[in-house]
């Protein structure tokens, strides 16, 4: 019979999970609603060009996933000592640069695929080139934002000794989602508006 007083096991009780994670997740859900709001302001443009719907989940999803992966890896590296929590650290700088390049390449690829898909399905909306440009440009800004926020969140969780899975990943993905929508809509308005 497991003791209900045990500190380790308490983490798994429903009440505890809700109490510990609840506030954070509610706040992040709120952040998510902001993303939705941004979408509604651009709704005319979106409905005129349904092809853009291909891009929305993809760009936002890619940004969030990139952030989660970077955040997790940086956390691990911090705990082991491969990276020091300081901007002058060479290993950290190299990691940031590779993440930026990798992210950039992925958004460019995404743009090519989305453009090809839209064209193949003869969806109404921007041309292949325009889709490619939208994805790549918003991707560039998004990757920059995501790298900054995920590295910062990793430093924060390391210093406080928090489990990155509990904090870093939800926070990074939510804010990356918000940034993703914001940059995407911004670039869409710039190019098509």
């Amino acid at each position: 019979m497991m003791s209900s007083q045990s500190k380790v096991m308490t983490g798994w009780r429903v009440v505890t999970i809700v109490r510990v994670m609840g506030p954070l997740l509610m706040i992040l859900a709120f952040v998510g609603m902001f993303s939705g709001l941004i979408l509604t302001t651009g709704q005319d443009l979106l409905f005129k060009s349904p092809a853009l719907f291909i891009l929305v989940p993809a760009v936002v999803g890619l940004g969030g996933n990139l952030g989660a992966i970077i955040g997790s890896r940086v956390s691990t590296a911090l705990h082991l000592g491969i990276i020091e929590p300081s901007l002058s650290n060479v290993a950290l700088r190299n990691n940031i640069i590779s993440s930026l390049i990798a992210g950039g390449v992925m958004f460019v690829a995404l743009g090519i695929i989305a453009g090809a898909l839209a064209s193949f399905l003869a969806l109404e909306g921007p041309s292949m080139i325009e889709i490619f440009l939208i994805s790549s440009l918003s991707g560039v800004f998004l990757v920059l934002f995501v790298v900054i926020i995920s590295v910062t969140a990793a430093f924060f969780s390391y210093r406080r000794g928090l489990d990155p899975d509990d904090v870093v990943i939800p926070v990074v993905t939510s804010f990356s989602d918000l940034a993703g929508i914001a940059f995407l809509m911004g670039i869409v308005v710039l190019i098509l508006g």
């Binding site: 691990t76 082991l80 000592g81």
Partner: protein, 401 residues
């Protein structure tokens, strides 16, 4: 063993595996120096210091394990990190051995007086001196005496209090007492510089000792030398990821097992002949500690010899410690070529200790090379010492600019 400056850190902040491992290594070095100082110089104060450092070690070990667990993700990384955990456990054992050594005095057992006087047979020598008025280092500071003599200052007593691991800028005064650590070869230079007459190391031949006593003494000293060598080689095997060096550590462990059995028999036989049996007790404990140290070093070496790849954090940690270990091949143009070990003054000039040398012609490792060994091109040396000495040493051996 070299002293550590990070041994005492009061501030609480997040530590990572690399930092903790580096500090662990430095702390172990200091603990062993102080533990031997406790029994050899009969200073309880150092023993208490060792006990405090033992507490620090417990914290470090705990932090190391926590940090490894926090950083463990992915099957491959985890496999390598299990090696790190084994090394952490081995470090814990070495710390325990150091405490055991200090306790020999703290619990009132001690060592036979005659044994205490034969320091000069130990490779990694510890010496205690009082600075006389004529000593040329009076008025200079710690950094100056260290670079001049090639020895490291473990503790300084000015007035009534001992200061462990004193700062480089500390000025030396007449009457100050120092505990220093370094190679046996550097000891002579050191004594001439400090002109301390009271602690002149007696010639072995002058000692009148029964044959069995001599045998015991020599065995104990060899065990101490080998145990310390095993630690240095274990660290080297990790730093250079060398299976060859790791095998040497295993060889040493086997040798120490043999020596311990032999020593225990000797002591038991000798005990039948002497009155002061209690004094021999300390020797048994010292032998036991030496063996435990080499067992722990062997556990470290086994991580290198094992199937799993060494985690890179180990090498980073080894390079970050205060005491450096370096491996170099004697190349063409080196001033060492053709000279004998004694002639070259390599250790005294650089402050590094050559712990092992592999002659190109013979292919086997020679530990603690001595006076008449000749340096030849292609010989490989492993040396340990302070960072400042490393550069000089490399220049000497590789004739680098």
């Amino acid at each position: 063993m070299l002293s550590a400056s990070k041994a005492r850190r009061g501030k609480q902040r997040r530590f990572n595996v690399k930092e903790v491992l580096a500090e662990t290594r430095d702390t172990l070095g200091l603990m062993l120096d102080l533990a031997y100082s406790t029994i050899l110089f009969e200073e309880d104060h150092f023993g208490q210091e060792v006990m405090e450092l033992e507490e620090r070690m417990s914290e470090l070990i705990f932090t190391a394990r926590s940090a490894v667990m926090l950083g463990a993700k992915g099957a491959d990384e985890i496999a390598a990190l299990t090696g790190v955990l084994k090394i952490v456990t081995a470090a814990e054992k070495i710390g325990d051995s150091a405490s055991d050594i200090a306790e020999i005095r703290l619990v009132g057992i001690g060592l036979p007086k005659r044994f205490i006087k034969t320091l000069h047979l130990m490779e990694d020598t510890l010496a205690r001196v009082t600075l006389s008025e004529e000593s040329e280092v009076v008025g200079t500071n710690i950094a100056a005496i260290e670079s001049k003599t090639g020895m490291t200052v473990v503790a300084l007593r000015s007035g009534s209090k001992w200061s462990i691991n004193p700062a480089n800028e500390e000025i030396l005064r007449e009457g100050d007492r120092l505990i220093v650590n370094g190679s046996f070869e550097s000891l002579e230079e050191f004594q001439s510089v400090t002109t301390d007459k009271s602690n002149a190391v007696p010639d072995v031949r002058e000692l009148e000792e029964p044959a069995m006593h001599r045998q015991i003494r020599k065995t104990i000293v060899e065990m101490k030398n080998l145990s310390e060598l095993s630690i240095d080689l274990a660290y080297s095997s990790i730093l250079f990821n060398s299976q060859e060096i790791a095998n040497e550590v295993s060889n040493i462990e086997a040798k120490l097992d043999e020596l311990r059995i032999g020593l225990e028999h000797l002591v038991l036989s000798y005990a039948k002949q002497v009155q002061e049996v209690e004094q021999l007790h300390g020797l048994l404990r010292l032998a036991s500690a030496s063996e435990m140290i080499s067992d722990a070093s062997n556990e470290i070496a086994e991580v290198v010899l094992g199937d799993i790849e060494l985690h890179p954090i180990l090498q980073y940690a080894m390079s970050e410690a205060e005491e450096v270990i370096t491996k170099v091949e004697i190349s063409k143009g080196s001033p060492l070529e053709g000279k004998s070990f004694a002639e070259s003054f390599a250790e005294q000039e650089t402050g590094m200790q050559v712990i092992a040398l592999k002659k190109k012609s013979e292919g086997r490792w020679i530990y603690h090379p001595k006076g008449d060994l000749l340096f030849e091109i292609g010989d490989i040396m492993i040396a340990k010492g302070r960072k400042e000495g490393e550069r000089m040493f490399l220049q000497l051996a590789a004739a680098a600019e």
